[in-house]
Point group: C2
Chain length 313, copies 2
Amino acid sequence: MARRVVALAGGVGAARFLAGLVRVLPQEELAIVVNTGDDRDFFGLRVCPDLDIVTYTLAGVVNRETGWGFEGDTVRCLDALRRLRSDVWFRLGDRDLATHIQRSDRLRAGATLSEVTRELAAAFGLRVELLPMSDSPAPTMVVRRDGTRSDFEEYMVRDGAPEDVASLDLSAAREAKPAPGVLEALAEAEIVIVCPSNPLVSIGTILEVRGVRARLETRHDAVSVSPIIAGAPVKGPADRLLRAAGAEVSAAGVARLYRGFCRGMVIDKQDAALAPEIESLGLRVRIEETLMRTPEIAAALAKTVLELAGRAA
Amino acid sequence: MARRVVALAGGVGAARFLAGLVRVLPQEELAIVVNTGDDRDFFGLRVCPDLDIVTYTLAGVVNRETGWGFEGDTVRCLDALRRLRSDVWFRLGDRDLATHIQRSDRLRAGATLSEVTRELAAAFGLRVELLPMSDSPAPTMVVRRDGTRSDFEEYMVRDGAPEDVASLDLSAAREAKPAPGVLEALAEAEIVIVCPSNPLVSIGTILEVRGVRARLETRHDAVSVSPIIAGAPVKGPADRLLRAAGAEVSAAGVARLYRGFCRGMVIDKQDAALAPEIESLGLRVRIEETLMRTPEIAAALAKTVLELAGRAA
């Protein structure tokens, strides 16, 4: 059953936006296609950061300060694991670990990531349709200036997202088959929303998955929220990655990346001066508060996005 | 390098005894061959209850009340996992989980159980040589009166160790190859000690591993501590299992099971009256406090065992 609205999503920014969206749209009308380029195994456990961030946020159990993990979670298991091995640099809380244990166990038993994601979403009480972009691993690789390659979490968390990015390698996403339902959702939805996420390693990976960009370009009606406010990302390394890709770190820079499939973009009030430039690229612009400090701000932003898409919420 | 003393061990009783033993014997002189018949996967994590009980106890981090798990451990992960699946009946604490995550990850990477056990023992600061009885899974199966089969943890923990035991199936142990070093340790040790553990599902499984019983029978000089006091086990279902096996639930019943390879047994003061019967089976007997309520009692017991083996501690 196709959902009326489909959103492409990465991590924290997307999740906060989606929490606002489900305040103005019934969850049953929403499908979310989530980046899996950041996924990887830690100690034999499959961790899918963006899927979990979206799940925990929509379930209302996310750590509101960090935007990821559970509110009030402890890290007793990982503290103990640190005494047994030297490569414990990724923080996974005790409650959070249960998700990864369950996912890993189901995957080893032969379930697909789509199936496990659906089970976990249901267990957390979600009624949105939550779709990984692909059931195949599609790790985003960061090529460093010294020629070494890191997966995204190694670059981001282990190494602290330094400036030394030479390029991104999204070839795994390019070879990945879209998960069941992804292309159908994009074909049948009335509205496609590009959440405020990293344009390269969150949205960019989804776009690379076979058939996704073509499907979106055919529609050419997606609406997006700029993840860049006043020349800087709210969170994460989008500035470093955009610069490495030769793109401008601004809402207009993002609009240039999205213009092939987007017909509208909501930009922050601080970026009002960029509206003419973005409109000249062929996108309709709405100016709104986009720093989602509260769920109410996120809901207002979501309402504006839906209106920009030509629908009343 | 062979150790001077080798102990065959199961879970809590053995661990408490061993904690006493290492008060009167340098850890460097001790090798411990541990039952792995209770091992199994939970949610894709390999759990080795007896190895962990011995490790945690000797490391001084065990929960002293239960005899297993970490002192002061929390169960936040498993509480969370319980919301994601219905088969969470085995209690694994948050710190404890780190051990299982590490073991499972190393096993999946191709390490043997012996290798992982050695790594974990070292990480916990142990200087004893800790040997699983086998590197191959050798699950003890409990055949119930209704004909169904349960592994030991299902019988013991999930079902609460009911009386409905028809028989034990130790065929997996019988087909298991001893772990590297086990037969050598048993051949070269000056002293072999059978710890106070379940004679059937802890010691019995070790004896079934290829070559172990024959090696012990050739020596015929092991010394043991009766796990039965006044007709009842201190802990666990030994009474039910002994009855199902047609054996007497007493120190004398255990002596009959061990007489083929034991030349001595320490029994509890409460069982002093059984000494003549056990001596008539060809075992020398020492009478001692065997309920190890304190480490001091365990150390005194260990001293008596070493003396019975003909060595001063």
